[in-house]
């Protein structure tokens, strides 16, 4: 494959990976603050996108170039607020009661059910197979309709660059906040030792809600960034969410940086694997399909990575393996 398509492949992988990293940061911070794995994270990614569509078009298809920038911005903000509200509500009503009673299965089932509930509610309003989402980034204004011509033929989609840059900036900003800002440091303190933090006047309960809210915000950002580049289906959010979890697991469920690096690695691998066509095997009458672009096979890579990671390196994750005593 020539240079420009290689560049496209790499860039697409990095951009997707950065988005996964954003989602992974949210997953990691919720885990470190409450010890909870948020099974509804993927649906917190798709909820704001559908709210965005709803605000712009009320349940039907939305013309991609139609709405003006103010409408788009307003809808995006509203969508993000929805995601934050949903996340905080989930924490208060679906997780905290079970944590207080020490019921692990309770919050597992509650978060998983919340995810399905969100999916069901979206499906009640949006009944088509897939939707196309207008871009919140006005990338078409740049370059030539959003692409740059490369010397030697081929084009480079600017959108990928913008998404990559934005996602990295967001991740970096969050990382900075966590290490420098007062509230960020308070959050780290509360996650290490809630009791000691209380003695310093920090409220772990408030910070838990904040952590979940941040996770919702990052999920919204991820959703709005990634949605315009693929046809939007109900399960897109869950897939992105699971890959975000994979990114967080790659980053050892530790720091924000780990999640971003893990996401980038995952995105790159995914992009490279799916853009290399395997020859079609013929086994008697059975033909293995080609793993080409624009197929769901791309998602198999990410999910398989997650399952294998959990199997192979559980000891290197914080708290995944049971302790003897």
């Amino acid at each position: 494959m020539n240079l420009s398509s290689l560049l496209q492949v790499l860039l697409a992988g990095l951009a997707a990976g950065a988005v996964y990293g954003l989602v992974g940061i949210g997953f990691g911070i919720v885990y470190r603050m409450s010890g909870v794995l948020n099974f509804a994270l993927g649906d917190l990614v798709s909820l704001p996108v559908f709210v965005f569509l709803f605000a712009l078009g009320g349940g039907g298809a939305v013309a991609v170039a139609g709405p003006g920038p103010l409408a788009v911005a307003g809808a995006a903000i509203g969508a993000a607020l929805c995601a934050v509200a949903a996340a905080v509500a989930l924490q208060r009503f679906g997780v905290a009661p079970f944590l207080a009673r020490g019921s692990t299965f309770g919050w597992i089932a509650a978060t998983a059910a919340a995810g399905i509930l969100i999916q069901g509610m979206i499906a009640l309003r949006f009944s088509a197979e897939s939707y196309s989402v207008p871009d919140i980034l006005p990338v078409e204004r740049l370059g030539r309709d959003g692409v740059i011509d490369l010397p030697g033929g081929g084009v480079l989609e600017l959108r990928l660059l913008v998404v990559l840059a934005l996602a990295l900036v967001l991740a970096l900003a969050f990382d900075r906040w966590l290490s420098r800002a007062r509230t960020g440091r308070a959050m780290r303190a509360a996650s290490d030792s809630p009791d000691a933090a209380r003695l310093c006047g920090i409220s772990p309960e408030r910070l838990q809600m904040l952590a979940w809210g941040i996770a919702g915000l990052l999920a919204a950002a991820a959703g709005l960034l990634v949605a315009p580049s693929r046809p939007l289906t109900l399960s897109l959010g869950v897939i992105v969410g699971l890959k975000g979890v994979a990114a967080a697991v790659l980053g050892r469920l530790g720091s924000a940086r780990g999640a971003v690096l893990g996401g980038l690695a995952l995105g790159l691998t995914e992009s490279i694997v799916t853009n290399t066509s395997l020859p079609a095997f013929a086994l008697g009458s059975l033909q293995l399909p080609k793993l080409g672009p624009a197929s769901g096979a791309q998602d198999v890579v990410g999910l398989l990575a997650l399952v294998i990671l959990l199997a192979v390196v559980p000891g290197r994750l914080g708290g995944a393996v049971e302790q003897a005593d």
Partner: protein
């Protein structure tokens, strides 16, 4: 002791109610076959097939504490493989179902490998991802899986009996009968397993990883096997259900179905053995109800919302982790103590039983153990004391195998323990207890102690339990008697069948000790057994330990409490900064000036 009949069905404890349930079920099937239309028969058969899968999930979730959130993936595996076997390879329905069952089991084994070392939340995550992996794979390879449309199986399920020259086709009624037969076998099998040593193993798996391993159970292996069984049952169910419906429909294996199965198991989890039946009734019934109330809405999202709402309701109702609490018996009057025959105390100072030489362990720059030597003689009560930070806990963990020493040897009766992990050391006879006592609310003290018995002999195996052989009944009786005897030694007889949560902290610790002793160890390692106990309880503990020593057990106690140690121990080792400071009888050690200096400090030198 009964003898004679190999299998005596009347000996089953639940025989009478089971017979009534069985009779009612048979009557229901006969009535359905006679009077119902094919659609109702199909629904009933489908329900029974789902129950089979559900009991597999019940085994995973409720019995062994492994929340599998992607169980529909195994159903899908069974169904799609069956389609392949039937349509491409031309197998008949029953052979395809059996192969699909085994293949799904192997897939479950793989998933189990992936999650056997994880804590429950991460098991949930791994299986959740697995479930989605299956869903996405179905959509991503439409040339193989038929995509959204699924696969049409065309012909109904049939079985070829060449010897009789017959080709039997299964109608809906046939499926219902087959499903009921399989379910009956599964129920009987699971019940028998619960009564056999497997039930004790499951209890150990539910408790904590540390406890189970310290009692000698192979936690990782057992987890994989339960995944195998649960996945095999799901695969069988998926295969047969697909053949019943005549089509492999991908919407039946979505994430919300997986969650629905999980909810169904959780709803019934406090009801004991027949919980899943109720759970299926609720989870299956509600979408039907919703569909009748909201006929215009499309079914899939309604079902999804219904499942989610149900989950919330179920969770509010059952806020515990599942499983019914232990049987609440009235505390029986303590049975009269058998008069203790005065026994000659075995000479403490027999042959060395446990010899540790040169144990060294560093954590970063800290030398927790610095060439530590320890010799424990047979049938003695040996105490290890030392100030905080002297390395007692590290020594205990190195001896039991929780952590690996950097260098040094540990021998038990001449057998080198160096290459044995914690579980195998426990099986070799070196059993430890933990500082933190965790009580399992769903086992009575008697059952808890029996958990330590593991599998005493082939007579308590699963097959023997299934057939209720006389050997099994003898083994079960002697197991209960052993448990009773141990409870008496530790002063817990009146509470043998009580709710364990009602026991005091000291009694819970005694229960933990009794469970450890039930494994039949050669050497018992006790980690601060008297911690947090008042003087009366310490008395009871001391008496119990004396009795154990008289029974010939070798005991090593790690503790702070010098007074407790002084009257109890035959010999004492004092540790300081990771190595032996002093060793000898309690009197010798207490008088040793080095020990006094370490504990109390030396008088300050007066500078003239």
């Amino acid at each position: 002791m009964a003898s004679g009949a190999v299998a005596d069905l009347r000996a089953w404890p639940g025989a009478k109610p089971a017979a009534w349930i069985g009779a009612a079920w048979v009557a229901a099937i006969v009535a359905l076959v006679r009077f119902a239309d094919p659609l109702t028969l199909q629904r009933a058969a489908l329900g029974v097939y789902l129950l089979i899968a559900l009991y597999g999930l019940w085994l995973l979730v409720v019995q062994t504490n492994q929340p599998s959130l992607g169980h529909a993936g195994f159903l899908a595996a069974g169904a799609y493989l069956t389609a392949f076997l039937r349509l491409r390879l031309g197998l008949d329905g029953v052979s395809a179902a059996v192969i699909a069952m085994l293949a799904a089991g192997c897939l479950g084994w793989l998933v189990g490998i992936g999650s056997s070392r994880l804590r429950p939340p991460f098991v949930a995550l791994s299986t959740w991802a697995f479930g989605w992996l299956v869903v996405i794979s179905i959509g991503a390879f439409p040339s193989v899986s038929g995509g959204v449309a699924g696969i049409n199986l065309r012909a109904p399920m049939s079985i070829r009996v060449d010897a009789l020259g017959l080709l039997l086709r299964f109608s809906e009624a046939g499926h219902l009968v087959l499903a009921s037969l399989i379910l009956a076998l599964v129920l009987i099998g699971l019940r028998s397993a619960e009564e056999s040593w497997l039930g004790r193993a499951w209890a150990a798996m539910r408790s904590s990883a540390g406890l189970a391993t310290s009692l000698g159970y192979d936690l990782v292996g057992m987890r994989r096997w339960t995944f195998f069984v649960a996945a095999a049952l799901a695969g069988l169910s998926g295969s047969l259900a697909a053949q019943l419906l005549g089509v492999v429909d991908p919407t039946l294996y979505s994430a919300s179905v997986s969650l629905g199965l999980f909810v169904a198991v959780m709803i019934g989890s406090r009801l004991g053995f027949f919980g899943p039946v109720l759970g299926l009734g609720v989870v299956g019934g509600l979408p039907l109800l919703a569909a009748t109330v909201l006929p215009s809405a499309s079914t899939a999202p309604v079902r999804g919302v219904a499942v989610a709402v149900l989950t919330v309701v179920a969770l509010v109702l059952s806020l515990q982790n599942g499983r019914r609490p232990a049987h609440h018996g009235r505390p029986r009057d303590a049975p009269p103590l058998a008069a203790l025959r005065p026994r000659r105390r075995p000479v403490a100072g027999g042959a060395p039983l446990l010899v540790a030489t040169g144990l060294t362990r560093r954590f970063g720059g800290v030398h927790a153990l610095a060439s530590m030597d320890l010799t424990v003689l047979e049938s003695e009560l040996h105490a290890i004391i030392g100030p905080n930070g002297s390395g007692k806990s590290t020594l205990l963990k190195c001896l039991s195998g929780s952590i690996q020493a950097d260098s040094g040897r540990v021998d038990l009766a001449g057998l080198s323990l160096d290459h044995l992990d914690e579980r195998w050391r426990a099986r070799a006879g070196l059993v430890r207890t933990f500082q933190r006592v965790v009580v399992m609310p769903d086992l009575t003290p008697s059952e808890h102690v029996q958990m330590g018995l593991r599998q005493r002999s082939a007579n308590s195996g699963w097959l023997a339990a299934l057939l209720r052989t006389p050997g099994y009944r003898d083994a079960a009786l002697s197991g209960r008697q052993d448990a009773q005897r141990l409870l008496r030694v530790f002063g817990l007889s009146p509470w043998a069948d009580a709710d364990p949560v009602a026991l005091s902290g000291a009694q819970q610790r005694m229960l933990q000790l009794a469970t450890a002793v039930a494994t039949g160890p050669r050497l018992l390692l006790l980690d601060e057994p008297a911690a947090g106990m008042g003087p009366e309880d310490v008395e009871g503990l001391a008496t119990a330990l004396f009795r154990l020593r008289e029974m010939g057990l070798t005991i090593v106690v790690v503790d702070h409490n010098i007074a407790f140690v002084r009257r109890l121990a035959d010999r004492v080792t004092v540790m300081h900064e990771g190595t032996t400071l002093s060793q000898g009888t309690p009197r010798q050690v207490v008088a040793d000036p080095k020990v006094r200096a370490a504990y109390l400090g030396t008088a300050p030198q007066v500078v003239a």
